[in-house]
Symmetry: C2
Amino acid sequence: MTEQEIAAVLERAEHLCRGRGARLTQQRRTVLRLLCASDKPLSAYELLDRMRGCIKNPAPPTVYRALDFLLEHGLVHKLESLHAFVGCAHPEHTHAGQFLICSDCGDVSELEDSAVAKSLQAAGKAAGFRMTRPVVELIGTCAHCDGGKQT
Amino acid sequence: MTEQEIAAVLERAEHLCRGRGARLTQQRRTVLRLLCASDKPLSAYELLDRMRGCIKNPAPPTVYRALDFLLEHGLVHKLESLHAFVGCAHPEHTHAGQFLICSDCGDVSELEDSAVAKSLQAAGKAAGFRMTRPVVELIGTCAHCDGGKQT
DNA sequence: TAACGAAACGTTATAAAATAACGCGCATGT
DNA sequence: ACATGCGCGTTATTTTATAACGTTTCGTTA
Ligand SMILES: [Zn+2]
Ligand SMILES: [Zn+2]
Ligand SMILES: [Zn+2]
Ligand SMILES: [Zn+2]
């Protein structure tokens, strides 16, 4: 994410939290900013390392508490298969992320495919299941890494 | 899974491995059996505890190695969002599991919804992504726990 | 059958991810 | 000022997963 995009995300996060009566504290803002600034998903402990620059002596609960808050408010996503987190670029409307994860280069991109969302919804409904959080992570090789090797 | 179903799964696993020149050793068979016999997904360490009855002094690598083998051969699935494992009841044809995970009762059921599979395939293809392993875990409330509270 | 190489396994140690527990201090509203 | 709740610091611990290395077992071949 570019500096400007990050600034925009922080701005929107601010508004969103204010509207909900939630407090986007310094630490939470820092974690969100670091995740947005990273070109790859960060584990809680990588995040912890990067926080050392901004916050004095952070410990695991520091980062996990911030992440819990940001997850609750839909400002970040957790990639279960990687034990890592990414900032969400589109937090304004609630959405469940769908992710393409390249196992070659580590690149992750977020989808919001309505056909996928609908089929999941339908599959759940058919089983009488009330879905609260779909986890969709497609692991494979991205277009760049596939490099025309496959037709 | 009933005793008979477990026996059938073990039988088929045996054939499948023989056909591939893979060795379904005692430990691997034990892990598969324990997973099938459990009424809920088991973490590696729960599995480790249950192995103590059958195998002398098992250590973490013991169970993780068996799990790696069984995962490779599609005999078990890993639930990424739970850090837990389940036996697969339909290992004969390769398939990527789709799971409904009830956060109330912990019950997990495996789906194989072709509409979901197709939409995922299509979404990946549209992004030039070559998918090797889809992770689909729908977290919510099962029909039983929902208990007619919601229409 | 004896020798060989690969795969499986035992064992110890360590890394990585996540949470528990407890008290302090600050923001907010009365 | 006071009470209440939330956020946070801090320490310790639990849970999940892997590294490393030597030994055994198994199938193959000389
Ligand atoms: Zn998002
Ligand atoms: Zn890639
Ligand atoms: Zn299956
Ligand atoms: Zn349930």
